[in-house]
Amino acid sequence: MLFNLEIFKVALRSLWANKVRSFLTMLGIIIGVAAVITLVSIGAGLKVYIADQFEALGSNLIYIYPGDLSSGFGERAMISQTRLENQHRQAIDRLDLPIGAISALVQIADQAKYKENTFNTIVFGVESAYSQVVNVDLEMGRFFTESEEERRRRVAIVGSRVVEEIFSGIDPLGKSFFLGGSAFEVVGILEEQGGGAMGSSSVDDTVIVPLKTAELIFAQEDYGAIIVKAESESDIDQIKAAIKKELLDYFDEEDFSVLDQRQILNQIDNILGMLTLALGGIAAISLLVGGIGIMNIMLVSVTERTAEIGLRKAVGAQNKDILVQFIIESVFLSIVGGSIGVIFGFLGSLLIGSFLQTTVTPWSVFLAFSISSLIGVVFGVAPARKAARLDPIEALRY
């Protein structure tokens, strides 16, 4: 019989007799499993966070970007020389489409300054209709008006973090601060969104100014994107097709992208999925190292117990009895280590969850646990075979 309760007890007793060593051996697996679960939970949490932020913007949005983004936000998109400009914005306007609202958008990284306080912010130059395209939730004040945009007024709606960093404690409404060397008046404050995982920018870090003001102050005339809100979801495909067709008069097919929210989200999901896999993969290396640790200790243990193995064989243990005894030891170490690792993985993700959004995914728990169990078998086999094959005569001389 392959599994004998007595042999199981024998294996556990010898692990118990070397408690400290057994625990240290398990530690490799514990850390490995916990690391896989925690890191994957960060990646998965980031995904959920971004999806939430995206959905908070509103629905039925269509984005026109310069460059080809259909194959992901990769190299080709980055090196695109295409310029999305006012003529394209107007061309879309001329089409008779069921569009609710439309806004071009320029994006500039700049420093906001109030008195001695500075903050590196992202400036969004948008049209006054922007607040009808996406949901702009204001904490206080108002969005800028069409006439303010037309007159290129230097007015700004600031994110909550910007307020915190440069206006600390002062009511910023009506105050002036510097952006791109010009004074801007704060007319509105954005509601705090939270998040901003791992240094990524959040709405809280941004400043929104009129598009025409931004073009003037920052001398930037090409758009980062044009955002269109369809009147209803059923119109999205029609609008996308019409815009694409129109823009082909200006660009080659690979020089611009017309994407809806779902497509963008899918691509972000893909990228984060890869990131999550990479994180999990790095953590899995520590699992492997943990497995090698088990093998190492088991080999030492076999050598130490040579006389015991010889005696067991002399009193009638078959090779498989010895094999099973040592495999049980290594499997037990890895399964118990894996279980403790799962607990620590949950704790770790809970802990990190207090400042980043984390989501423990069942597949990462399952995968980490089954890999660690597998490691116990795989890395336990070599030492166990060594033990089982010992010549009893040689072993008894020890």
Partner: protein, 232 residues
């Protein structure tokens, strides 16, 4: 279990026919056993004597089914055993042979009682049966009050008595004792020899390996091995 049938009374415990064992050391071949013919009947108390390097240890290993001969035939309880697989030999060791070693070979983390019952865990004997039989054997060697002691809490003589109890637990056909008094003071050694004589008196077959002629005298029959041959 060994069946003490009428048939097995007639059969020899060991029957060795021209048993050979060689070792290869570098270029040269050492003939540890040249052609051993040996018959040991049931109930015999035999001492295998010989100097170091005589081949008596090799012979002992072959008798104990720990080693295989390179030539010849060996019968144990009438069964040809020289061609058996490793697993079959393990089973026979468990069922028919009780070992007693010079260095006792008790497992240090197991109590006296657990050491005695050790062979039974490879035999699918139930826990309560094991316990009862181990208690009985331990009592027979006079250690009923030492059941929970660990080997390092026992004297050398007591440890060897635990080892003898372990050798007896499966009611073997033969007890193979390899220098059982070699690590003991003379008084403990005598106690151990007294136990062997008692076991012999109960009809047990005992093969004792020793280089000590004093110890060998306790046996009924002395077999001297020299240069891989039985010389008397």
């Amino acid at each position: 279990m060994v069946k003490k049938s009428k048939n097995s009374k007639q059969l020899p415990i060991y029957q060795l026919e021209s048993i050979k064992r060689y070792y290869q050391t570098g270029q040269s071949q050492v003939q540890a056993l040249k052609a051993i013919n040996l018959l040991i009947g049931p109930g015999e108390f035999v001492a295998l004597v010989g100097s170091s390097g005589s081949g008596k240890s090799t012979l002992m290993h072959i008798l104990g089914l720990l080693d295989r001969p390179d030539g010849g035939k060996m019968f144990l309880d009438g069964e040809e055993v020289s061609g058996l697989s490793e697993n079959q030999r393990a089973r026979l060791r468990r069922e028919k042979i009780g070992f007693v070693f010079q260095t006792f070979h008790l497992l240090p983390r197991l109590t006296a009682l657990e050491n005695v019952e050790l062979p039974l865990i490879y035999n699918d004997v139930s826990f309560s049966d094991r316990l009862a039989r181990a208690r009985e054997e331990l009592a027979l060697v006079g250690l009923a009050n030492r059941e929970k002691h660990l080997p390092n809490q026992l004297s050398g003589g007591q440890q060897q008595r635990v080892a003898i109890a372990r050798a007896l637990i499966n009611n073997p056909s033969v007890i193979l004792a390899d220098e059982p008094t070699g690590n003991l003071d003379s008084q403990s050694g005598e106690e151990i020899m007294t136990i062997f004589k008692k076991l012999h008196g109960q009809g047990r077959t005992i093969v004792l390996v020793t280089h000590d002629s004093e110890v060998a005298r306790s046996a009924q029959r002395i077999i001297t091995v020299k240069d891989g041959l039985i010389i008397s």
